[in-house]
Every structure is written in C-alpha cells, then in structure tokens.
Point group: C2
Chain length 921, copies 2
Amino acid sequence: MEMKLPGQEGFEASSAPRNIPSGELDSNPDPGTGPSPDGPSDTESKELGVPKDPLLFIQLNELLGWPQALEWRETGRWVLFEEKLEVAAGRWSAPHVPTLALPSLQKLRSLLAEGLVLLDCPAQSLLELVGSTHPRKASDNEEAPLREQCQNPLRQKLPPGAEAGTVLAGELGFLAQPLGAFVRLRNPVVLGSLTEVSLPSRFFCLLLGPCMLGKGYHEMGRAAAVLLSDPQFQWSVRRASNLHDLLAALDAFLEEVTVLPPGRWDPTARIPPPKCLPSQHKRLPSQQREIRGPAVPRLTSAEDRHRHGPHAHSPELQRTGRLFGGLIQDVRRKVPWYPSDFLDALHLQCFSAVLYIYLATVTNAITFGGLLGDATDGAQGVLESFLGTAVAGAAFCLMAGQPLTILSSTGPVLVFERLLFSFSRDYSLDYLPFRLWVGIWVATFCLVLVATEASVLVRYFTRFTEEGFCALISLIFIYDAVGKMLNLTHTYPIQKPGSSAYGCLCQYPGPGGNESQWIRTRPKDRDDIVSMDLGLINASLLPPPECTRQGGHPRGPGCHTVPDIAFFSLLLFLTSFFFAMALKCVKTSRFFPSVVRKGLSDFSSVLAILLGCGLDAFLGLATPKLMVPREFKPTLPGRGWLVSPFGANPWWWSVAAALPALLLSILIFMDQQITAVILNRMEYRLQKGAGFHLDLFCVAVLMLLTSALGLPWYVSATVISLAHMDSLRRESRACAPGERPNFLGIREQRLTGLVVFILTGASIFLAPVLKFIPMPVLYGIFLYMGVAALSSIQFTNRVKLLLMPAKHQPDLLLLRHVPLTRVHLFTAIQLACLGLLWIIKSTPAAIIFPLMLLGLVGVRKALERVFSPQELLWLDELMPEEERSIPEKGLEPEHSFSGSDSEDSELMYQPKAPEINISVN
Amino acid sequence: MEMKLPGQEGFEASSAPRNIPSGELDSNPDPGTGPSPDGPSDTESKELGVPKDPLLFIQLNELLGWPQALEWRETGRWVLFEEKLEVAAGRWSAPHVPTLALPSLQKLRSLLAEGLVLLDCPAQSLLELVGSTHPRKASDNEEAPLREQCQNPLRQKLPPGAEAGTVLAGELGFLAQPLGAFVRLRNPVVLGSLTEVSLPSRFFCLLLGPCMLGKGYHEMGRAAAVLLSDPQFQWSVRRASNLHDLLAALDAFLEEVTVLPPGRWDPTARIPPPKCLPSQHKRLPSQQREIRGPAVPRLTSAEDRHRHGPHAHSPELQRTGRLFGGLIQDVRRKVPWYPSDFLDALHLQCFSAVLYIYLATVTNAITFGGLLGDATDGAQGVLESFLGTAVAGAAFCLMAGQPLTILSSTGPVLVFERLLFSFSRDYSLDYLPFRLWVGIWVATFCLVLVATEASVLVRYFTRFTEEGFCALISLIFIYDAVGKMLNLTHTYPIQKPGSSAYGCLCQYPGPGGNESQWIRTRPKDRDDIVSMDLGLINASLLPPPECTRQGGHPRGPGCHTVPDIAFFSLLLFLTSFFFAMALKCVKTSRFFPSVVRKGLSDFSSVLAILLGCGLDAFLGLATPKLMVPREFKPTLPGRGWLVSPFGANPWWWSVAAALPALLLSILIFMDQQITAVILNRMEYRLQKGAGFHLDLFCVAVLMLLTSALGLPWYVSATVISLAHMDSLRRESRACAPGERPNFLGIREQRLTGLVVFILTGASIFLAPVLKFIPMPVLYGIFLYMGVAALSSIQFTNRVKLLLMPAKHQPDLLLLRHVPLTRVHLFTAIQLACLGLLWIIKSTPAAIIFPLMLLGLVGVRKALERVFSPQELLWLDELMPEEERSIPEKGLEPEHSFSGSDSEDSELMYQPKAPEINISVN
C-alpha cells in the first residue's frame, strides 16, 4: 500500500506507507475529556476572548486497487473550496464549490451513527491511537517532514497554526460491513506523510468497507471532507462531546444545504468560487459570534451601503457649533497620527506608488500647463504648472487632513480661469493683478466656510451630485482631446489631389546673388536639388528649412504645408489611445503571470506615451511636439515671480473681484469636497479619519500663495487621488485556493505624495527629454483618461441599460428592486442635468456654471418628490433627512448575488475608481 | 382576495378571484380510476409508441396578506427554469436554475404524506373538484380566457398541448394544522384566470396552514413547483396510482439532487441556465427510454465525438472495391434528393443567406482576381475571376454531392499557380497553353482517384491535418495583407522633413511659349499659383496633373510624390480591419435586439468595406483603387476565350506537364477533401449525406473547363462554405424561458449556392461601382479574414495556453485528461510542422509543397508512437487503425461541464467555423 502525493514533480511516490487499521475499532469514546455534555453554550461563555479556531486543511486519501495492488492515494483536498485530483492530467483541478449527492451524505450519517466516534482522544500520535484500536503495528511514524511536503506550494497558503483533517476511504473486500470512524485528537500531532503538507492532524474520518457499486466510498469520503471543511460544522465538532453532538452538527449542516434539482443541473459541473460568500456570521448562534474573528469573508459593500449610508456615522461631519470648531477637531484628530504618517510609508509598495503617481502627475502638469497657456494667452504655462503643482502639492501633503489627496489643476477651474481671462481682456484689465484679488477673495470666503463648518454640508453630496460632476469633467476631457486633435488638421492641412498648395521655390536674395553658394550645393545634392534650365539661376527647389539656412526665401503656396503630418498625428493619437485602453485590459486577461499583467496595466498610459514617442522618432516626421520652457522664469515675458497687487488696474477692481470670487469659491468648494467625499468613503476602510475642514483650509491658504505668485489654482483631483489610494491598497494574501484576497485598507501616510511632488518640481529641468513627446500622443492619453473616467461611474452603466433589451440586461440588484421605467427616468434626469451643464458651460452664461453645480444638489433634493426613498436608496444614496424617513425593514434588502453576474452587480455598487489610472481633473 | 398577474402592463389585477377552499378537505382518493396499482411497468408497456407527455407549465400562486387583505398572487413560474416575481421592480427575474433548501423539501414530503392525494380525479372542472371536497362554492369558473392571458408573451413559448400545474400556498391563520393536498385530474381543464396563460390544468398542489416563521409556505410551494417541473418526477407522477407512488417519486428526486454546502455558496445566488444539461436519458429506467421523445436536451458534441469518432460509421467512406463504385454510390444516394434540393430552399432564411454569401463571394473574387493578376502578370485577372467563379460555382452547385460547398480560388492553389507561372517564364513557355496541359493532366489524375475510390483515404485527415492546413492558409492571408499594405508605402513614400523630394515645377515647352495661357490662368487662381518675379515666365507651380493638362511638363524631384496617401491608406487599412473585428463581436454583446446584433455581425465585412469607401470618398484623396475591367474580354490583350492547345510551346511540353500536374493533383485532392471532411462533420447533422467521390469528379471536370478557357482553378473553400452552412442553420425556437435553442440541422439544398453564383456572374457589369473601393480597405478585410480563421481553430487556443500560467488556464476538458506538458508538446510539434511548411512555401523548393501537406498525415501517424491513443483522442482524433486499439472503457470520459467555462470547453471541441464569415481559401 503506497501513499502518492501529486506534487510539482508529477507522481513520485512518497516513502511512507500508511497502513490504516481496517479491523473493527474500539467504539468507546472518552466522554470525560470533552466539554461538558450539557450543550455547547456553557463551554462557549468560558471561551469568550479566546483566539479563533485554527484553519483546517482537509485531505481525502483513498484506498485504491483492491484486491491486487492496494495503495493509498490523495484524491481531493479542501480548505475553503474543493480541489480534485485529475489523475490522467496529473494535476489538481481549479478550486471549485464542492457539490455532493444527497445519498452520500445520508449514507455517511448512518455509517457514523453506527460507527466509532472518539472525541478528544488523548493519543499523542497516530501510533498511540492506532495502538489503542489495533495493537499490532510498527513504530516508524514519527518522521521528519518529507522533501515533497516542504516543497509543496500549498504550504505557503496555509496560515501558521493550521491543522489537518484527514478522510480515509476505500474498499477492503474482506470486510463484511462498511465501517465508519470519526476521531478528534485532544492535541493534534504531525503524522509523517499522511497529509501532503506537514501539519498537525486534528481530525480523522475512516470509511472502509466491502466492495460497493459505483464510487460509493469516494463520494462518502468527499461528503465527510466537505462536512469537515464547513466552518459551522468545524465549530460544532471541535466542541462536540459525544456522538449525539456530532450527528446534530451533521443535521444542522443538512438543514442549511442548498439543493439543485437533478434535471436542471449537471451534478458533475464545477462551480467556480463565487466572488462573495454569504456571511457566516448569520449562521452562528449569538454567543459564537463574539468569538469568531474576521476569518469569514465580509459582507459585500453593497450590503454595507444598504445597512448604513455612506456618511452615516462619520464623526468628521458632526457640527460642533463653534467657530473653527471643525478645523480644530480635524487638527486634533490628525496630530497624533503625524509621526506614523511617515513611518507607515516604509514599504516597498510605496516606492512603486511614487513612480506611478509621479508619471501621472507630470503628464497632468504638462497637459494642463499647455491648456492653461492656451486659455490665458501665456499668462501661465507649463513652467508655472510644474512649479505650482510641486509647491502646492507638497505643501498640501504636509499639512492636509487627508494626505492621500493629490492636488492638481482641474477641468472646472480651468474652465473658470478661461472665462476670467476673457472677461479681463474684454475690460482691458491687467490679468494677473486682477486674478490676485480674485484669489484673495476666494481664500477669504473659503476661510469663512471653514470657520462656519460649512463642510458638514457635504452630506448632501450624494452619488447623483458626484456623478453629474464627474461625467461633466470626463466629457470636457474627451471633447478637448478630440477637438485639439482635429485642430491639428487645420494647422497641417491634408493635400487633396485638386488643391494647388503644392509647389515651393527657394529664392535667393538678389539677381545673380549667392551664385557661388548655389554652385557649391549642386554637386553634393545632385539628385535632390534640380536647377531649372530656363534662367533659374537664383532659385532652387531646396526644402524650406534648408533654403532659409542657406540664406534664401521659400516662395510659393506649398511652402507652409508639411505633408503627411495630419494623418500621422491621427495615427499617433489613435495608437496611444487604443494601446493604453488595451494595456488596461491586460490586467484581467488570462495571459502572463499576474505581476506582469499588473505592471502592464498600471503603467498603461506611460507605456502608451513611450510607444507613441518611439513611433514618432522612428519615422522622424515633424509632428508638433510638446513645448517645454528651457529656462526657469515665468512664461509671460517681463514679469517677476511676485504679482503686483494692482498693476494697471483701478483700485476698485480689487473690490469688484469679490463677485467672480464668490462664484469661484462655490466651484472650489464643490470640486474640493466632492473629491474629499469620494476619497473618504467608508469602503476604503481608512483608519486615520478624514479632515474636510482642514483640507479646505489648506486649499484656501494655497490659493492665496499661488495667486500671489501667478501660479495655477489647485484643488483635489478625484481620479489621480483614487489611483494613488489604489496603488497603496493593503490586501490579505489569498490564503486558501480559490479564495479572493481580502481588502484590508489603505497604507495611509504622507510620504508618497510628498516625494511625488518633490520629483515633479525637479522635473522642471527635464525639458531636454520632454520635448520629444508629440502632442497627438498626449491628446490620445487625455482621450483615454476621459473615457476611462466616464466608464467608471454607475451613471454610464445606467445609460448603457437604455440600449439593452430588458432580456439581455445583467441581473443587477438595482434592477431587481426598482422598476425599469423608474431606473430609466432617473438616468434621463441625470442626462438632462448633464446636458444643461454642458450648454451653460459653452455659452456666455458660463460664469454662473458653479452655481449650476450647486443646483445639482437642489435637483437631487427635488427628486425626493418623484422617487420613493426605497428607490433612491437603490439608485442613489439617502440624504440626511431622508435617511430617517425610510422604515428600518426596507433597509434589509434581499441579498442575491447572481453567480455569473456578480461582477456586474458589484460594478454597480462599488466606486470602481481603482480601475482608473490617471487623474482627469 | 385578488389574483394578480404581472404582465406587460405591470400589475393590472385580473378580474377573477379564485377562492381556493381553505377548510379541511376530503382525504379519500379515488383509487379505482388510476392505473393498476401493481407498478408502472405494466402500464408502460401498453404505452409504447404513445406520444410523449405534454410539457408542463408550473405556476406558484401565493396567498398573501393574512389576515387583513387576503389576495392570491403569482410569485413564481417554471417550465424548465425558475422565474421569480420581483415585486418591487414589477417584473419577472431572468430564468435561473432553481435552488431549494433541503428542509422545505422534507417538510413538503411530510405534509403530502399526511395530506390528501387525489390521483386521476374524474372532475371535469375545478368546480366539480371543489364540489367534491368543499360543497359551498360558486359556479363562475368556466370563463373565456382573459385579455391578459391571451396577450401574455409566454403563450408563444409553450408548445400546443402544454398543460399547467398549479401550486397554491400560503398562510391562513385560522387553520390549526398545515394542510397539503395533491390533485391530478384525469382530464385537464382550463380554469379561467388561475394560471397566467390559458392552459388546461392537470396538477394542483395545495399547501396552506397557520402562520409559520419566515417564508415557510413560499419555500414549500417552490419546492413543490420545482418537483413538478422535474421531467422524471412528472413522468412518475403522471403514472402514479397512489400516495405511495407519489412519495416514491419524491424520494427518487431527492436521491438525485445536487447538494451545495452552506458555507461555500450563497443560497440566494441565482445560477444562470447552464449551456448543456445532463442527459435526462440516463435518469429514466430502460422501459421509459423508448417512450421518451427528443424533448430532453441532447448530448453535447464533445460527448458525441468521444463516443464515436467523426468518421466512424459514415457509409460514404466505405470502399466498394469496384471501379467508380464510390462515384456510382454517390450518384445513387443523391439522385432521390434532387427535387427536394430545390423545394427545400423555399424559406425566407435562404434569401438572407444568398445576400450574405453573395457579398462574401464577390469580395473573394475581387481580391483573388487581383492576386492572380499579380501572380500571372495579367494572364488572369478580376474579370476571369468573376467569370470563372460564376461558371464553376454554379455548375458545382448543380452537380455536386455536397451542394452546400462554395467553390472559390484558394490560397494554396494560388501559391501553386504563382510557381507555375514563374517556371514557365523561366523556360520561356507560352503560359496558358502549358497551363491547359497541366489542367488536362490534373483532371486525368483526379478521375483516376475517383475511379479508385481514393477519397476513402480522407479518414486519415484528422484535426491535426486540418488545422495545419487551415493555419497555413490563414497565415498566408495575414502575411499577404500586411505585405501588400506596406508595399503601398513604397509606391507612395512618406516625405520626411530632411528629404528634398519636395519641389515640383511646371515647365512650358519653349522659351516664351504659352505665355498667353499663363496669363489667363493667373487672375483666376491668384492665391494658388504664384509666378516668380525672377524671369520665371514660362514655368509655374501648377500641380502635376493640371500642368500636364495645360501642356506643360512637371519637373523636379517632388513631382511624383503624392503626399498623405501612405498614412491615409494605413488608416483605411486599420479602420476596416478593426471595424470588422468589432462588428463581429457585436453578436455577443448585450446591446440592441438580437436581430440587429446578428445583422451587424453577419455583415461585418460588408459594413467595414462601406465605411472604408465612405471615408475615402469623404476625403477624396487619390488612394489606389480597385482596378476592374470595363469590357467583357480576357484581361490578357489579344487572346480569345479558348486557349490554344499548344501555342508556341514544343509538343513535348504537353507530356512534361504531367509532373507539375501530379503535384497539383495532390494539392487539389488535399484542399478539396479536407474541406469536404469539415463540411460533412457529424455535428452538422446533415440528412442527405455526403458525396466525396462525386465532388472530386466535379472538381476534375471543372478543372478541364477552366483550363481550356484560361480561367482560375477552383476547389472547395472551407470558410465560406461553413459560413454558407451557418446561414442555413435550422434551430428549434427556444421554448421555455432560459432554454437554449436546439440545433436541428442545415437547410440542405442547391438553390442558394446557384443563385449566389448567378449573381456573381452578373456582377461583371458592376465595374462602375466597384472602382470606388480603395485597395487598403480590401487588404484590411483580408487581414480580418485571416485573423478570424486563425482564431477559430483549436490549435490557436492551445498556442494561447502556452502563454498562460497554469493557474489562469480555462478549465478545459482537454486539460483535465492530458498532462499539460503533453498538450504543450503536441502544440509545439504542430508549430514546428507549420514553420516547416512556411519555409518550404517561401523557398525555391515550394513546388514540392503539396507533398509536404500530404506529409502532415505521415507526421500525424508518427505521433502515435509519441502519444497514447487516449491522449490523441483528446488532442486530435483517432485514425482508423487506432480506433481499434483503444479499450472501450477509455472512450467513456468523465463528463464535467464547468459552469462558467463551458463556453471554453465547447470551443475546444466544436468546429467553431460558424464564427467566421468569409472564405480564407
């Protein structure tokens, strides 16, 4: 009889034969050593505070080959899910949900009921145990772990302290009766090669008997193993004191099994591990719950959200009623964490986060710099963008309440700045001084908002507001990227066959002048430059740049056309966009090891930029490149770093600036706080708390600073901050095969952000490298960011629902609880709001745009008259007042996680932000 | 108490209240009317040959609202799968596999065991029935079907003769005891609005009782409904004669249920209907099997294939041993079907098939025409391609053994023709006469192959051979498409900034000549044409075409460059490729109704061509266009339609032509028969049989004809033929919600092919339209066809496996039964063969290429020494000799269909050809 372990090296037989006794066993359990037989509750109360039960690894060893060549072979294993031995392929199956036939469970029950049950057996080794039941036996059991056992990759997946349970099943033809035995050791022992990993064994289940039709013992063995792998059964059987307890635990298991009818389900089908498991919590009696640790998978976030709203109990949003009370509380809350904000950063993960966020920040700074330069006619530019980002970002990271936030120029502020600039140009104002006063006023207003604890109003920013805002930003991105790309075709027109913008001649200064130069050039470039034989002695067909270099003047309609650039730019644009999109998807593909996939998808935009630059460099065409300042001085010629407070403006403009400042304050408040709300969502499990008031205070102070220096204005950027958090996720290492890693929280610290911004500042000197980046590539990346951000919000998914026939819609929880017409109505209202915002943004009324953003909150409030609280709970979130209006019963939704569609369902209820790499703000 | 039916119009209450008696029922079943109580087998034997049992529609009506507002409401329905009422959303859930809790089944059993069971109740209506159990009752039951019932869309999904079973469950607080009743009517009656569709009701199950914790009655009612929806239980309960039979049927159901452990599966998760259901056949006792019709879903094709090899019992491939014996048998087999070959085409589906295949054929003819013109220096061209395709194709459709085949130029024949042409050029031969003799010899050899019944050798063409061949063709396509595209950049070079191929001057004939013309032009085009002020009186910067038109000569290095064309062509190429690929995927997306999706994906290549043409026309650039003949005459100038037998060649070349003809014969045989084998696969369920000998005979005769006329040579084209068959699939209309349509067979006829080729012939006159198609678009489509064909073969999937970490590999049946290293070894050998074929094709040794194709069969034979028959069974197929060598036991694989991965598993075992639209051959 040989025990075979399928390991990395195929089927090398392990050395230790385990001759399990097959005779009749002593059926005398030792009742004295178990817990008192008057029910588990007494025992439990004593155990309160005791560490949770160890993890159990279960292995099924089968006795095969009766009667000629008996051997034990491991044919299945369980931690959470089942892995089957695939004999012919010589490997373990993928982990899957175990399925059983009901009769095998029933047979197991009757076998155990009649068989031997030894609980809290005091035996110190299998030797003793075997000795107590079957006295002839050798003593070669206490061996060192085998090489295969040590090399088994499963070993790393089991936490320290894990125990083993072994099911031994098979046919022994000489037995007259099937025989069942269940053994629980008081102290678990390591039993050589009995289990494939060297673990102390706690439980044994022996199922042997005469030949039976079909796979009787195999199935019974599986039933026993599945039973042992059930946490509830484990809990009970660890505390069982007699056979009755054991059978009661088995019956309790049977009470809770799910049954699939035979005609509608292939019993041999393998169900992949579900994304979310039911809460084991509910299955435990109340006194057990307190003992159980976090071993069981948690409630899904959907469930969470519907238990208690997103802002339900956050102390950060309680009004103190004192001036600056919130700010003071924020500071008090954050100060104790300050040292750990640096110490917690000492982890390799932070290094990769820095690299990733740095590249995103630089890309952002470059592009916003270009856009701002456009918008303000050079009053700000790439240099200001780099400098401002570095200074403001680093300062924020040092002082803010939520240092995971990444500050950046954002779309709405850019829109406002553009408006402000055209306003001041219309009134012939000196822009930067006027802007300084706007900044001073905004800072003042923001300080008032901080003093009055206005940030507690963010509780009214529901998903509706966030999505409207986010969708608008994404659309602006997409529109700008495509628009800028199309502008290139005006700069570099396409030459149609009929168009005569074709010829260009190089004309030299005077008649007969430069004759010598001409002759000198001719022999060298004979093939390239053709001198006409009709009096053309002082003109040539040299290309314009060379012509200029040689002192000539390019003349002709074709001199300013650069052929091929328009289409090549379009190709670069599309290539970088699609390449970035494709790399993003690599993460979920089946190819390559997960490290490679994660790397490719995390750096998708950087790789796409590199590809674009490579293509451009390969062909060497004169595509428009990124303009980077070569000197450290303000982009606007002739200004110092400090903006003079009045310039050429009359003094009263400094007072009048309060009006636009009011609007900008609303915008800044909305932009900053919506982002803050998203970042401090409960599902991120932040430990160190938020700091809404402190954050706004920092933004106000930085506003003052950047206005004085003529740098861009900064607020929190949603998507880049979320990418920052995503790169700092802490996850449990997947323990059991088939188990998904648990999200533990975020590595909350200030160092990564700080380093990112220091690097950004240093990048001002990167001009020699950055000038090789073609603009169409950057436009492509911006298109990608817009599309990625747009597709990450639930609103987009609901818009997609509009296009799907009801039959093909995913089985979303949302759709199970809200009539489709109502869902569509909600989506339509959001679309209408978005359209209105877009129109306002594009018209001269754009200056009131911040007010309209605030109006979104009002629209949401008005929706309470159209939709029931129950519907809004599913479609949006509840606002503070509303939360009280819904009966408690309604908050308990019927939790159904559709197997194949659970991805979609989660998609509808998780922020999905970690899916996006780079800021769109 | 009101009965509510959720229909299309939401929750309009139906009018008829069904007051189900809730008092105690008479528990006296009528045993005299049931089948004899001595077991069902006697009864069964009488029923042999009787039509199968009607389909049962089961509805769960719940009594809600005790005690205030009692109403009956339908909360669930079943045909094959369960649909739940989603109350809040007001709609039916998606169909899903029903899951039950075990206790509810057990409670149901005990309730029925103690309750009332009325079998073969003679009541003619519920009225009578109710009367027999509860004498107070009204008589308003016999009503016409309600409007809602008639409008219910479910009605169309139920076959005529379907019956209803109704489960009525709920709380009635005044009852002291739970009460169960099961009624089977001898003759089913229509009972007004009891069921949501107007069906005769056969079964009733009543479950009422005092208030119970949780959803007790709902779950018990569901259990009863699921039980009733089980085909095996239906069979038993229709024949049950007493309570004991009923309970035995319930117990038999319990014996076969699948059990999922509670901790690993959320019991409320909804499992989508599986792709393949287990065979119900196995569940029935032997005497029942003969009665059961094809109502149960069939074995999957994977199962099929492993039962009996693909060619196992096909009579077409039995050798008769007589000269032309196979041909004669083929003709005999096909003649009786001939009339039906036309009559069976009278279906709307054939119309869409014609349109679709016509477009594919024309695309094919155009592209192969272009390629052939290239290869033969114009000895053949697009006109010959159209004409030959039409003539040969139509003739084949009229005469062939398998008229679903579409004849086309194929890649390998094209390669051979190219070789033949360069050979005859090297020896200064007159090509077409030489080709005629090759054709004559090939026809002769093929006739010999027909006479000797060589086609039975196709049994040795396994998947290995097919895939090697198909992969080679696809690669040739991809290589050619990309290569031709890159060639365009040589024809239309990209102008780099440094390159001086820039200027072009328009020079007029004599000094001072054409001065008047110049002056005339100047005022009109002042902005466009610049006259230089330095003696340039007889030159201008007019673009070259206009210059020529005005009598000048374009002079300068830039005169021949056409800017922007290279990149625009690349854009067109990529656009048409990706657009076609994307449209292809629309079929499986969730958007749009399925008709729209199918249309978009079926016409993906046509739409992509249209898009490309549109883009091209929009920009109006001088991209290279398709050259189409404008007159009906041979492309080669100066030849008549009939090729002269000798031309300028010495006579002995007509004998020497036998040598290349031998090689070509092998190629034609392989190309033709591999396609024929694929088309006649068992999984297509062809009814009219194959005609391997007859097909080859037709090809030989057409070979003679096309050689004599100097037209291209034609053999069967795999992919376009498969697309043809796919467009003629007959499928059962999905009956029950959640059921997948069953594949019934192919609409086998000759008319669609015939019409396609007649239309192709008529397209010779389409030149004015076709000349607008840019070549890059066609190259893009060819790339698409190559990629689509390559990705459709199992080989490609195995190559992908090489790149996947074992952990992420799909759970394929193949991988469960063959060690991964062996799978990889097999793939590597295939890759090596493919590489060798590619090298040979590209070297001067290419002429022996047909022999190497034959060599694939030899390699496959040699693989029997490397792989076990069991492994080859999974990796490939078995060759005739091998089939005997494998023990019968090995042919019974363990059937496991992984829930989520079943798509992949099927993908590995189905030809997948219907996924591809257009021929690559």
